[in-house]
C-alpha cells in the first residue's frame, strides 16, 4: 500500500463498494412508487423561516467541521451542527430527543472531544493541528457518490405533512425502554459498559508502560 498505484486501487475499491451500497439503498428507498408530491405550499410563516435558519446553521457548522484549518474552530463548528440538528428535532415534535441530543452529544461527547483537543501536544501551532490529506481520493469518492445522492433527493417522494402537536412523550419513552424494548436497552448499556471497561484497560496499560 506504500506505492501510489496501491493507494489508488484501494481508493477505487472503496469507492466502488460505497457506490454499490448506496445504489442498493437507493432502490430500497425509491421502491414505493413515485407519486408527484402534493405538498401543501402555504405562505412562508415564522416557523418556516426559523426552520431554514436552523438548517443553515446546521449546514454551516458541518462545513466548518470539514473545512476549517483550526481544530478548535472545527469543534465549535461541530457544536453548531449538533445544536442545529437538535433544534430540528423540535420541529418534528420530538422534544425529548432534542434535549437528549443536547445533553449527550453537546454536553458530554463534544466537551470530552474539546477536552482531549486542548490537551493535545502542539495544539498552539494551528497549521499542524488539522491538516487535510487524501484530497484526490476524497474528490473521487465525492464525485462518484454525488449522482446517487442527488437521485435519492430528487426521486424520493418526500411526503409533506404537518408534524403532530407537541405532546408529552417522556413517560412513554421511559415505559417503552423498560417494558417492550428492555432487551435492546440492556444490550446497549452492556455495550457501553464494555466500552468503559475497555477504555480503563487501555489507559492503565499506558501508565504501566511508562
Amino acid at each position: 500500500m506504500k506505492t501510489t498505484a496501491g493507494k489508488l486501487s484501494a481508493w477505487f475499491v472503496a469507492t466502488l463498494l460505497v457506490v454499490v451500497f448506496l445504489g442498493y439503498m437507493t432502490t430500497q428507498v425509491i421502491q414505493p412508487a413515485y407519486v408527484p408530491g402534493v405538498a401543501s405550499t402555504g405562505p412562508a410563516g415564522l416557523t418556516d423561516v426559523l426552520f431554514y435558519v436552523l438548517a443553515a446553521v446546521t449546514i454551516a457548522g458541518a462545513a466548518g467541521v470539514a473545512l476549517s484549518r483550526n481544530i478548535l474552530y472545527s469543534a465549535v463548528g461541530l457544536l453548531m451542527a449538533l445544536l442545529g440538528a437538535g433544534s430540528l428535532y423540535v420541529f418534528l415534535s420530538a422534544d425529548f430527543v432534542a434535549v437528549t441530543q443536547l445533553l449527550i452529544y453537546i454536553g458530554g461527547v463534544l466537551v470530552l472531544i474539546l477536552f482531549a483537543v486542548m490537551l493535545t501536544n502542539r495544539i498552539t501551532e494551528v497549521n499542524v493541528s488539522n491538516t487535510s490529506f487524501g484530497s484526490f481520493g476524497g474528490a473521487l469518492l465525492g464525485i462518484s457518490v454525488a449522482p446517487v445522492l442527488i437521485a435519492v433527493v430528487t426521486l424520493t417522494p418526500w411526503p409533506a405533512r404537518a408534524p403532530a402537536a407537541l405532546a408529552p412523550t417522556t413517560a412513554l419513552i421511559g415505559n417503552g425502554f423498560l417494558t417492550k424494548w428492555l432487551l435492546p436497552f440492556e444490550v446497549a448499556s452492556l455495550v457501553l459498559l464494555a466500552t468503559l471497561v475497555g477504555a480503563v484497560v487501555i489507559a492503565r496499560k499506558e501508565i504501566k508502560a511508562d
Binding site: D95, L103, M118
Partner: protein, 454 residues
C-alpha cells in the same frame, strides 16, 4: 433590644416586599395576557413575555448583580471588617449598594483589550457562551403557582380560565432540560481559557473542563431520587407534590424524602459554579484563572455568570428540595382565607424568600470553608459523591417500590437526617485532638481572597 426590633422590622419589611413583588409579577403577566388576547394572539404568549421580563430580568439579574455587593459586605461581616463603604450618597453608604453602579460604569467604560495572537473569534465568543446558558436555566423554575386569569384581573369567559403561572416555560423533559443547558456552560470557560493564548488561562480552562464534566455526573444522578419519589420530571409538578402531607401533617418536602440527594446535588452544583471551596479553575493565588486576559465588560460577563449561577442554583434547590412556592406554615389557613391571587402572591414571596436564604448559605460556604486541593476535588466526586448517589437511587427506588405512599421513604429520610446531624456533631466536637492538623490545612485562604478582592 432595639437592635432585635430593628432586625424584626427589616425582616418583616423584606417579606412584605417579596410578597408585593410576587403580586406585581402576577398583575403584569395577567395584564399582558389580556392585552395579547385582545390583539387576537394566544393569551399565554403575553404571560410568557411578562414572565420573561419579570423572572429573568428582575428575579435573576437584580440579585445576580446585587450579590457582587453582597459578597463584599457579607465577607466583611464574616471576617469582622466593615467592607465597602467609601461611596457615600448624602452622608450614607447605603449598605454598599452604590458600588453596583460604580462597578457597572467601570466595566463598561474600560478598554476592551485583546491579547496578541489570541484567537479573536473564540476569544469574543467565550463570554457569551459562558453567560447565555446559565441565564436560560431559570426558564423552567416555577416561582409561583398557576392562577386563573379571572382571579387576577377579572377576565371573563374562556379567557378567565387561562392559567397564569410565574414560570417561563415548562418542557416535558423538565429536569433533563436543566442538565442539558447546564452542561453547555463548560464551553464558555474552557474556550475562554484556550483562546486567550496564555498558559495560565489554558490551565484554568482545562481545570474548569475537568471539574465540570466530573461533577455533571453526580449532579444528574443526585436528582434521580427525587424523580423517582415524585414520579415526574417537571419542576412545577414536583412543587405541587411537595405540598401533600406524608408523616401526619409534615409535608413531603424534598429535603425530608431525599436528604442525601440534597447534599450530593448541592455539593455538585456548588462545584459547577466554580466558587470556593471548588475554585480551582480560578485559583487566584496560583493561576489567576481562565479569565486572566479578559478586561472590561467581557470580564464582567464571565464574573457575573458566576453570581447568576448562584441565583439559579438557589431557585432550583428551592423548587426541588424546599417545597417551592408552598409557604408551609399556616398554608391551609392562608389558602382558605385569602383570594387565590393573594395566596399565589404569598407563595411567590415565600419562594423568593427561600431563595434569598439559600444565596446567603452559599456565600457563607464560600467565605468560611478552605478550598480543596485538585486531587481532593476529583476524589470527592468520583469516590464519595458518585457511589453515594447510586446508593441513594437504589434505596429510594426500593422504598418507593415497597411503599408507594412515600411514608417509608420519609421515615428513611428522617433517619438519614438524624444520622447526618449526629455525624456532624461528633465531628465538630473533635477539634481539640486534631488542632494541629486543622491549622495546617486552611487558615489564610479567606484573608487571601479578601485581599485579592475582585
Amino acid at each position: 433590644m432595639s437592635r432585635l426590633f430593628g432586625m424584626i422590622f427589616v425582616l418583616g419589611g423584606l417579606v412584605v416586599a417579596l410578597v408585593g413583588l410576587g403580586w406585581a409579577f402576577y398583575l403584569l403577566a395577567g395584564f399582558l395576557a389580556v392585552t395579547f388576547a385582545n390583539a387576537g394572539l394566544p393569551a399565554q404568549y403575553g404571560a410568557v413575555i411578562g414572565n420573561l421580563l419579570t423572572l429573568l430580568l428582575v428575579v435573576v439579574m437584580v440579585p445576580g448583580s446585587l450579590l457582587s455587593v453582597a459578597e463584599r459586605k457579607w465577607s466583611a461581616l464574616i471576617q469582622n471588617r466593615i467592607g465597602a463603604n467609601r461611596i457615600r450618597i448624602a452622608g450614607s453608604s447605603l449598605g454598599g449598594i452604590p458600588f453596583l453602579v460604580a462597578d457597572a460604569v467601570k466595566m463598561l467604560t474600560k478598554e476592551r483589550f485583546q491579547p496578541d495572537q489570541a484567537t479573536r473569534f473564540l476569544f469574543n465568543l467565550a463570554p457569551i457562551l459562558a453567560f447565555a446558558p446559565v441565564f436560560a436555566l431559570f426558564a423552567i423554575v416555577p416561582v409561583g403557582p398557576a392562577v386563573p386569569l379571572s382571579a387576577i384581573n377579572g377576565a371573563e369567559g374562556a379567557l378567565g380560565r387561562v392559567a397564569i403561572a410565574l414560570q417561563v416555560a415548562s418542557p416535558d423533559a423538565g429536569l433533563l432540560y436543566l442538565f442539558a443547558i447546564a452542561s453547555l456552560a463548560v464551553y464558555g470557560t474552557s474556550l475562554a481559557g484556550w483562546a486567550s493564548n496564555n498558559k495560565l488561562a489554558l490551565l484554568g480552562g482545562v481545570r474548569a473542563a475537568s471539574q465540570m464534566i466530573s461533577y455533571e455526573v453526580s449532579l444528574g444522578l443526585a436528582l434521580v431520587g427525587t424523580m423517582i419519589a415524585y414520579r415526574t420530571l417537571r419542576l412545577e409538578e414536583m412543587v405541587v407534590a411537595q405540598g401533600q402531607g406524608v408523616l401526619g401533617a409534615i409535608p413531603a418536602l424534598g429535603i425530608l424524602l431525599q436528604p442525601v440527594g440534597f447534599l450530593i446535588f448541592f455539593a455538585s452544583a456548588f462545584a459547577e459554579t466554580k466558587r470556593a471551596p471548588f475554585d480551582l479553575p480560578e485559583g487566584e493565588s496560583e493561576i489567576v484563572g481562565y479569565f486572566l486576559e479578559y478586561s472590561g465588560m467581557q470580564f464582567g460577563l464571565l464574573f457575573l455568570s458566576e453570581f447568576v449561577e448562584i441565583v439559579i442554583l438557589s431557585g432550583v434547590i428551592v423548587a426541588v428540595f424546599f417545597g417551592g412556592w408552598h409557604p408551609i406554615l399556616f398554608e391551609e389557613t392562608l389558602r382558605a382565607q385569602l383570594s387565590p391571587l393573594a395566596f399565589a402572591a404569598i407563595g411567590a414571596g415565600a419562594f423568593l424568600g427561600k431563595m434569598v436564604v439559600l444565596m446567603w448559605v452559599q456565600m457563607l460556604i464560600r467565605w468560611v470553608l478552605p478550598r480543596f486541593r485538585y486531587d481532593q476535588i476529583q476524589k470527592l466526586c468520583w469516590k464519595i459523591l458518585l457511589p453515594a448517589a447510586l446508593l441513594n437511587i437504589f434505596i429510594t427506588a426500593a422504598a418507593v417500590l415497597v411503599d408507594p405512599s412515600l411514608r417509608l421513604l420519609a421515615g428513611i429520610g428522617l433517619v438519614e437526617l438524624v444520622a447526618m446531624g449526629a455525624i456532624t456533631a461528633a465531628v465538630s466536637r473533635a477539634p481539640k485532638a486534631a488542632h494541629g492538623h486543622a491549622d495546617a490545612h486552611g487558615t489564610d485562604h479567606g484573608t487571601a481572597h479578601a485581599a485579592a478582592g475582585h
